[in-house]
């Protein structure tokens, strides 16, 4: 386990070194930061047009939305290899090389790409989270902070699970992968509206199938005191872990399919 982690670190190091070989690498961080300013833009525009909905202010929605894209950004940063896998590794046949090395496939693939500038998104997200919490007068008590950290960890696991799952499916087809956006971008859209007003069907899908409401809404409602039981805020991490496990299952199936067809 420790050795595997060491390999992950070494892979990351070599990716960083590769990045530094090119001039202008530092520009990328700035550029991604600029680009991520757009993430909350849609939320701001909607509220500037329609105003608050009851107790639901822009800050509440921004908090949820920022939590979602921080979690997504963390997954994307630390599991870049999986988010690239369908496009960069399967087609090129580089996965053969991964199979030829005596370390876990999972660690090798997850660290096969690492782009430090991707960290700009979770960084931006954290800034917005803190800004919203302050505007909402949320108390930074120990319990609240823990709920938030667990929520982000659960969210990270959920989105990491999405990437792992899509890589597993990529072993079967690489042409029909757009539906993965249902789990990535579309799941973020769900937290753009006040959750209680969501149609029940959607609410159930995004609690029980793709747990974005469990990892975002429950913890946010708990620490913001928006109603509902506080304990639900603690569900984020187990839900994220469960989703990640499901992703791993697909990945395993995909690998064994690859080994039997070689394509």
């Amino acid at each position: 386990m420790l050795k595997e982690f060491r390999v992950y670190r070494q892979f990351v190091r070599i990716n960083l070194l590769s990045g530094l070989e090119y001039k202008g690498w530092w520009l990328m961080i700035f550029q991604v930061l600029v680009a991520t300013v757009g993430d909350p833009l849609a939320v701001i525009l909607v509220f500037s047009r329609f105003g608050n909905i009851g107790a639901w202010s822009m800050e509440r929605i921004l908090l949820m939305y920022a939590m979602a894209f921080t979690a997504y950004g963390l997954g994307e940063t630390l599991f870049r290899g999986f988010s690239y896998f369908p496009y960069r590794m399967i087609r090129s046949g580089d996965f053969d090389r991964v199979l030829l090395r005596p370390k876990s496939l999972f660690v090798q693939v997850s660290a096969s790409f690492f782009h430090i500038h991707r960290a700009a998104r979770p960084f931006m997200g954290l800034c917005i989270i803190i800004w919203s919490l302050v505007r909402l007068d949320v108390q930074f008590t120990f319990v609240n902070v823990m709920v938030l950290i667990f929520a982000l960890a659960g969210g990270f696991l959920t989105y990491a699970g999405v990437f792992v799952l899509s890589s597993g499916v990529a072993f079967f087809t690489i042409n029909a992968l757009d539906w993965i956006h249902v789990l990535t971008s579309a799941s973020r859209e769900v937290v753009r509206v006040p959750t209680p007003y969501l149609p029940q069907a959607l609410r159930h899908i995004f609690i029980f199938v793709m747990p974005v409401l469990v990892i975002i809404y429950f913890p946010a409602a708990a620490i913001g005191d928006w109603g509902g039981a506080y304990w639900r805020g603690w569900l984020a991490l187990p839900a994220g872990a469960a989703f990640f496990a499901a992703g791993m299952l697909f990945w395993r199936i995909g690998v064994s399919h690859y080994k039997s067809t070689g394509s």
Binding site: K23, G24, V34, A42, L45, R49
Partner: protein, 272 residues
Amino acid sequence: MSRTLKACRSLFIIRVTENLQYRAAGIANSSISIIWSILQIVIFTIFFTLGDATGAAMTLTQAITYAWLTQILWSIVGYFTVDAEIREKVINGNVALDLCRPLDLYAHWFSKTMANKIGRSAWRSAFTLIAAVGVPAALRLSPPVSIEGFLLFLISLCTGALLCVAFAMLMAAVRVGLTWGEGPTYMLESVGMFLNGNYFPLALWPDFMQGFLLFQPFAGLMDIPFRFYLGLLAPSDAFWVIGLQIFWVVAFIAAGRFLLNRKISHLIVQGG
């Protein structure tokens, strides 16, 4: 020149038919379009009915139609990332291979990008359209406001498709010979994605921005065609609005061609 045209035409046809094979992928990918549209419609419905919609330039029904149109025509006017094949060539520095063909590189890539767009989107758009008219009335796509509106929609949609490819080509040209990655193309793409209306219909943005929003190039991709469809732009405005679209097409093509030719000649000198 005529040889280039001919070659590009046959290339175009081959590509489109080739891409039509991916029917299963089309069905799978239309599911995301449908789900996405429904989510947008849910968002619109909640805010239009529970929020303060008095100043809005659009009704809920129009916003719903806008959401469907965005998804149905997404690959044609919504999505302008550099064509995957071209991108790969540019990144690996294999542009030389395409330079060996007796074709104008810009025209060649332009037709390839257009063909991939149309071929790949056909199935997806068709299935999304079926869903858009098949869902319950509260979520349904409305018919165009008038026959004139519909015709103008079709015309400006074609211009919009050209604009879309011209923009993708400009980004490809920026990317050629760039050893340090995706930064500039990524930024260009983000700017386009904000201002094309896919986040939020441009007509619903703050009122003081409306003039700017209509004149900036990215309105011509989908927002202007959709406004004709919805009747937000009167047929009498067609002349100058479509003229504006054409102006941006010409500007993007000129900039893209200039940049591409300059970079290619640079590459040849370097022996890259």
